[in-house]
């Protein structure tokens, strides 16, 4: 039931109506609750609640009403009457279609495929770990910061040694999260134990944060009798019911619609928790990405979609993966609030995930976070990335843009960490990792002597 636009003279009434309809459509509908057009708006189902909810989601709602009130007193009675009967005149400059009123234009303009500038990236610390002036961020206590940093080091060392273990033939397969330690730990730190995690495969740090021990990681990789999976799963396919961490599943992006479903069940149970699902830049090309985000938006499910845009999907770089401005711009296509953060900045990730969690749980809506980062390691032990990318690019990101060093600088500059603690931590973690692999503390082995 489209009300066709009539070309009319530029009366004051028209001018007002035009202003009213450009962006203030919702309030016009609400005020004219009795009018027929509100039912057409929602395909015949006139639900005042639906209108109200739609209105509440518009940030300019109150301002609109105020504006309208102001105008009411100055608009001539004739125009006011004709405005209030919205059946015909109201729609002169807008079209009624399923999905809502939309204003029309006689200028044919294609929306550009990209905006002039890329969506900016939120960061709190600069490359050297110094706080950027006047920046907005969630303060972290000393204990929390030290814990975050220690876990980042844990992850780094576990990755290094387990990767070597695969090379030595001790385990059959491994995949590192090198370069993404801040994403792993800081995102986990911003959540609660009740939040449910659906990982892709480069997020063992989240499980590490929640208390999965190095021994449990090693057992899973070995597939030995202590493995909770009883040797059924390939290495790195961790899962833990008690830590609310869903087992890693090989097919890409299948976790996204599943996350929307789990979030919906949390919503039905009125739980004060959300789901966090991780995906890489490559995984966003899968059909399940579309299904997952679209459904989460429609169901108003409390799920955070965390995309680790590390630039590479095995050998496919992002230019060959998609032509949009990264992943963040896709959020709007689904009606999902989104943000782009510097994935190598632990504080920025922490702040963004905290805020996202607030919104997801309190407003029952999905959120999309795109964390820009770089995959320092190879895709997995079955890959040699020097075959398709420059070694100096890898070295640059490994050193100059290292997230662990960056966060360390900040923690140390607050007086919360020292070089001595650093050495102690690293050697103790190394020892624990090796014990988990071979069951022996090699540092305490006594070799033969002559006596």
């Amino acid at each position: 039931m489209a009300n066709w636009v009539r070309i009319s003279s530029r009366s004051i009434g028209n001018h007002i109506r035009k202003r009213m309809n450009q962006g203030f459509i919702g309030s016009a509908v609400d005020i004219n609750k009795s009018s027929g057009s509100s039912s057409a708006l929602h395909g015949g189902r006139t639900v005042c609640d639906r209108n109200r909810r739609y209105l509440n989601s518009l940030p300019w709602n109150r301002a609109t009403l105020f504006w309208f009130q102001r105008f009411k007193s100055t608009v001539a009675e004739k125009q006011q009457d004709s405005f209030l009967s919205s059946d015909t005149d109201d729609d002169q400059l807008s079209l009624d279609f399923p999905g809502g009123k939309v204003s029309y234009t006689s200028d044919m303009n294609f929306i550009s495929e990209s905006s002039q500038t890329r969506v900016p990236c939120y960061r709190v610390l600069d490359d050297d770990g110094e706080l950027i002036k006047d920046t907005d961020f969630q303060q972290v206590s000393k204990e929390a910061a030290v814990k975050m940093y220690s876990k980042m080091v844990n992850l780094q060392i576990m990755d290094t040694i387990f990767y070597e273990a695969q090379r030595q033939g001790r385990i059959s397969f491994y995949l590192t999260s090198a370069g993404e330690e801040a994403i792993n730990i800081a995102s986990a730190a911003a959540l609660t134990e009740q939040d449910i995690i659906l990982p892709q495969y480069r997020e063992p740090g989240v499980l590490l944060w929640r208390g999965f021990t190095l021994q449990e990681f090693a057992d899973q990789c070995f597939g030995n009798k202590a493995d909770y999976g009883k040797g059924r799963q390939m290495p790195i396919h961790y899962g833990s019911k008690k830590h609310n961490f869903f087992t890693i599943s090989s097919p890409i992006a299948t976790q996204l619609p599943q996350a929307a479903g789990i979030a919906y069940s949390l919503k039905m149970d009125n739980k004060k928790a959300c789901v966090v699902s991780y995906i890489g830049d490559g995984g966003t090309s899968e059909g399940d990405f579309h299904a997952g985000l679209n459904f989460a938006a429609v169901m108003e499910a409390p799920v955070i979609f965390f995309c680790r845009n590390n630039g590479w999907a095995i050998s496919t770089n992002v230019w060959e993966q998609f032509r949009s401005d990264g992943i963040v711009v896709k959020g709007r296509a689904y009606g999902i609030r989104s943000i782009r953060v510097d994935g190598n900045d632990a504080l920025a990730v922490y702040t963004a995930v905290s805020a996202a969690r607030e919104m997801a749980v309190n407003e029952q809506r999905p959120i999309l976070i795109e964390a820009l980062t770089y995959r320092v390691g190879h895709h997995s032990t079955s890959d040699d990335s020097t075959k398709y990318r420059q070694s100096d690019e890898i070295v640059y990101w490994k050193n100059a843009r290292n997230p662990v060093n960056r966060f360390r600088n900040w923690v140390q500059s607050n007086g919360w960490w020292s070089d001595q603690q650093e050495t102690q931590l690293r050697s103790s973690v190394r020892k624990q990792v090796i014990i988990s692999l071979i069951g022996l503390d090699i540092h305490n082995l006594h070799f033969f002597s002559d006596t």
Partner: protein, 375 residues
């Protein structure tokens, strides 16, 4: 690679005298060795060179030289117009390829493993396989879907399933399962030249295996017929029908059986759809006993189909019940000891052949898959 060198030498003359249909010749004793990877690579290369409509599409097929290096060197030779690296979306690129095939191109779609083809199976079945029939022959879909299929080593449940039986159910599809390098070359060429959709199921563990290969096979016009099985080893006491990696196991089992006085005939099925019913039945009518071997799950499998074919056509010739060897009826476990128990081993084939020959007590609990399922 021998194939490419030879092809370059014969390129000029072959372009003029290439026969429309490849003629089967009996092969002289082989002098050269070629592994399955090289066989597939050379077949792709030759077909792409011969027909400019042939193109490759899949994840990592170009820059990375192929996830298993099957498409090595092809991007450099043919360029980005004919070797397409895709974003990660099996449903996406399978759909794109089917569309290209509708329009007349000849795509060769690579799935990193056929486990991931499940994300694209609607395109394979509903868009590719059924179109020719649904359009009363007006639409032809000359597409090939290829990639590793079945169990590899230590890759767990989501990377180890065999899809031969699934795809072979569907009319409109051809399903091929090469075993050695000769099969790989001949069947892939036949598949690419075929005007209908073909599912080409390779095996990751066979990629590196070398086989002796004759000059006829190296010829760029070499082609094997689709729907014909090959008798790899002639015998007279029991027929062992297998495909892909299990052909190798069956041949080893036949050597062991020979020492016990059992002369086994080993059939390399090569083609699961259409199944070479006549070769299987002729063999069973000769030996009167049949063992089918597959790595896949037992229920509704290729072995079940073969058994039904034989019962339908040669029931009176059977002197013993058909023995079916298949993988364990469980999702493939990862741990090496469990994985070994979940796939058929040579000893299982030997035992089944002996049971079929009434040389050992028939015992249900000895069946590979039933025993393994109890853990």
């Amino acid at each position: 690679m021998l194939g490419i060198v030879r092809q370059k030498m014969l390129e000029q003359s072959l372009k003029k005298i290439r026969p429309a249909v490849a003629v089967l010749r009996s092969y002289s004793s082989a002098a050269k060795q070629m592994n399955v990877r090289e066989a597939l690579n050379s077949a792709l290369n030759e077909e792409m060179s011969a027909d400019s409509k042939v193109f490759l599409i899949g994840e990592e097929v170009g820059e990375y030289q192929g996830a298993y290096k099957i498409t090595k060197g092809l991007l450099d030779k043919y360029g980005t117009e004919r070797v397409l690296d895709t974003p990660i979306t099996e449903a996406g690129f399978a759909g794109i390829a089917v569309g290209a095939a509708y329009y007349g191109l000849k795509p060769v779609v690579e799935f990193m493993t056929f486990n991931f083809s499940m994300q694209a199976i609607d395109h394979i079945i509903n868009s590719a396989a059924k179109s020719n029939y649904m359009s009363a022959g007006q639409i032809s879909v000359p597409i090939v879907f290829r990639g590793p299929n079945g169990a590899a080593a230590g890759v767990g449940a989501q990377h180890s399933q065999c899809y031969a039986a699934w795809y072979a159910t569907c009319p409109g599809l051809k399903v091929l399962t090469p075993y050695n390098s000769e099969d790989a070359r001949g069947l892939l060429k036949a598949a690419i030249r075929d005007p209908d959709p073909v599912v080409f199921l390779e095996n990751e563990l066979l990629y590196g295996e070398s086989f002796p290969i004759s000059n006829e096979v190296l010829d760029s016009s070499f082609c094997l017929p689709i729907g014909k099985a090959k008798i790899e080893r002639k015998g007279k006491h029991v027929t062992i029908a297998a495909y892909s990696k299990m052909v190798g196991y069956s041949l080893k089992a036949a050597e062991i059986l020979e020492k016990d006085g059992i002369d086994a005939e080993v059939i390399n099925l090569r083609s699961i759809r259409p199944l070479d019913r006549s070769t299987i039945n002729d063999s069973v009518r000769k030996t009167n006993r049949l063992v089918t071997v597959e790595e896949a799950f037992p229920q509704h499998g290729v072995g079940a189909e073969i058994c039904a074919c034989v019962v339908e056509e040669s029931f009176a010739y059977l002197d013993a019940p058909v023995e079916r060897i298949a993988g364990a009826d469980v999702p493939m476990p990862y741990a090496a000891n469990l994985e070994r128990m979940a796939v058929p081993q040579v000893e299982d084939i030997v035992r089944a052949a002996k049971r079929a020959c009434y040389r050992s007590v028939p015992n249900e609990a000895q069946h590979c898959w039933e025993g393994a399922a109890s853990f």
